[in-house]
């Protein structure tokens, strides 16, 4: 009886569910789900159709690639003049460094980028890595400075361009790192004076813009030193960047310290480890591993922030662009292309680092399981 009833009320066959695979269905789900979605698609397509051809024509099709000033001027900005890069790339990349000697910063830069890439592999994280960096910086300085074995002497005032940008960001962060660990530990210390000092330092630095720190290093610091003992402006600016980056880095590391379960501290204590032993062997290895993505973010910020040294008349990548184009009336009007060029260099650096940061985050998460 029940079965008969059930038989009688059989529901009509429904059409098969829409295919979820295949390009048509993908289009439907992602571009034309409902009328709002379709409208958005049409709007975006309209904007792209309006702009993309212009961008392609401006940047590629009609652009002048040769360092031909007359041809560039004839464009009247209707298309890009990449010739300005072809003409000036060495001045932009290496700043005031003597022209014939520019292989030196090039070699130094390649070494630095190479070691940076090597340092990114978790496989290479061992005690030799810091040693390698110290060796690298020593080689870099010796090579850049010269003054021996037939290499002419080049003073730091002539260093510039991309090598300077890389130097300031890697060395700045390298020097900030140990400092920031101390500050982060100090901020969580049970000693009131130490804690107060570290909190004060971090909040003070994070409350002011980097540019004021640089102004201080540039204009004010000389007054702090005995006459004639003032260090080089490059060193002063470098110390400024280090002190600034250390405050932000310390906050990132503190985040990692806070995430360490209390049991770890208690375990270390019950093993009879001293404070420093516990930090070094138990706490920091875990905490630092946890905050590698934030450390990478700090590195990206520092890399971008080095562009500010231009304002205190150092010729980093941004500054040397000015050096290359300002004094040359023929090419000065093509600043925009120059900005795009160095913008691309910064972008490649930052984007690859942020991708790496995401990759390492996933990898560490996988390791932790």
């Amino acid at each position: 009886m029940a079965a008969a009833n059930a038989m009688r009320s059989l529901i009509a066959a429904r059409p098969a569910p829409p295919r979820t695979a295949g390009s048509l269905s993908w289009l439907r789900r992602n571009l034309f789900a409902d009328w709002k979605n379709t409208l958005a698609t049409l709007l975006v397509v309209a904007v792209l159709v309006d702009w993309l051809p212009f961008v392609i024509e401006w940047g590629i099709v009609d652009a002048v690639l040769r360092p031909d000033n007359a041809a560039c001027r004839a464009l009247e900005h209707a298309a890009a003049c990449w010739g300005v890069i072809a003409e000036k790339y060495r001045l932009i990349l290496f700043g005031r460094f003597p022209f014939a000697e520019q292989w030196r910063p090039l070699v130094g830069m390649v070494m630095m980028v190479g070691l940076l890439a090597v340092s990114c592999l978790p496989r290479m994280w061992n005690r030799w890595l810091p040693v390698a960096w110290v060796v690298l910086f020593t080689c870099f300085f010796v090579l850049m400075r010269g003054g021996f074995a037939g290499l002419s002497f080049v003073e730091t005032a002539q260093w510039g361009g991309l090598p300077l940008t890389l130097l300031l960001s890697t060395l700045g962060l390298g020097a900030a790192f140990p400092l920031s660990i101390l500050i982060a530990l100090g901020r969580r210390s049970h000693l009131p004076a130490v804690r107060a000092f570290c909190i004060g330092y971090v909040e003070l630095i994070r409350g002011i813009p980097l540019i004021s720190v640089l102004f201080m290093a540039s204009f004010m610091f000389p007054l702090f030193m005995p006459p004639g003992k003032t260090p080089d402006v490059l060193l002063r600016v470098f110390v400024g960047i280090t002190l600034f980056a250390a405050a932000y880095l310390a906050e990132a590391i503190r985040g990692g310290l806070q995430a360490i379960p209390k049991g770890q501290f208690e375990a270390a204590d019950s093993l009879g480890l001293t404070y420093w032993q516990a930090q070094r062997k138990v706490v920091l290895p875990q905490a630092l591993r946890m905050v590698i993505p934030s450390i990478m973010n700090s590195f990206i910020s520092t890399f971008k922030d080095t562009s500010l040294v231009t304002i205190v008349s150092l010729y980093d990548l941004t500054g040397s662009l000015g050096l290359a184009l300002n004094g040359d009336a023929n090419w000065r009007q093509f600043y925009f292309e120059g900005y795009l060029f160095i913008g691309l260099i910064y972008w490649i650096g930052c984007f690859s680092m942020s991708r790496y940061s995401q990759w390492i985050e996933r990898r560490l998460a996988a390791d932790a399981v």
Binding site: R96, F99, T156, A157, G228, K229, P231, D232, L235, A329
Partner: protein, 344 residues
Amino acid sequence: MNNFKSIALAGLSIGVSALVFSGVAHAGKTLDGIKARNQLVCGVNTGLAGFGAADSQGKWAGMDVDVCRALAASVLNDPEKVKYVPLNAQQRFTALQSGEVDVLSRNTTFTLTRDASLGLSMTAVTYYDGQGFMVPKKSKIKSAKQLKNAAICVQSGTTTEKNLNDYFKAQKIAIKPVVFETLEASVKAFFSGRCQAYTTDASGLASIRNKEAKNPDDYEILPELISKEPLGPMVRRGDDEWFAIVKWTIYALLEAEEYGITAANADSMKTNDSPAVQRILGSSEDTGKLLGLDKEWAYRAVKAVGNYGEMFERNVGPKSALKLPRGANNLWNKGGLQYAPPIR
């Protein structure tokens, strides 16, 4: 105390860098420091053609640079032994105050405030200047008084900012200053057309117009000079010996012109009959001893850069790119203001 400072510094930076960054100069007397280092450290402009600018090879040239070269020649016997530190308008005084540079030769105006409150001393005037205006020719402006409501580009950290305000306030004309941190930025903004006028010392205007403009003929320098701008090198206060050397080296270049000594004839003039010439070139009296230098200090300076007139002609004069008339910078006996006290 010193130990402690070095420990603190070393802790902050990485040891390697501290080793390599030099620039930690001398202590004590400026002259002793220069001699010990065997190098003169000279603060110059970041790039003002005719006064102080480096070419693409990093070689410096200009009036202000020649003063440095003359100084190096008379003190160190080699005009090449100079380290040039490019300084922007804001950095210059601190750099000199702190001993980062020995002398500031960077088209700097002498004023009471600077003399009395910055801990600096002014030596001798190397260029008598005045502040002027430059406009694009197509604007058809012929006088500064037509600049009502105009945006005027100006570089920060100069006497120019205040003069500009004083002048237009007295004229009861409202203007809009657009202030930039660096010479480069202000020049770029003016040539891009952001401002209707650019203002700085007339010599600077000539330099910018003739060296930086795409086509110098598109720009016009207005007739009004709204201020007095005596430019010259500065030294730190409290070292009278070095102050005297800088001052008298400049006077020596002026004296040399007055007596017809040039870089080319300096050697042959040594045997000239005129006692004044002999004194300057050190072939009779030893004037150098009084300054803490040797006999031929002035001879070497002239030999290195020529006399004042040669220096002027080469860098900024009518035949140079800047095409500035000698005008007020002529010698006193030729209708100008350059009057050097006698070397005697």
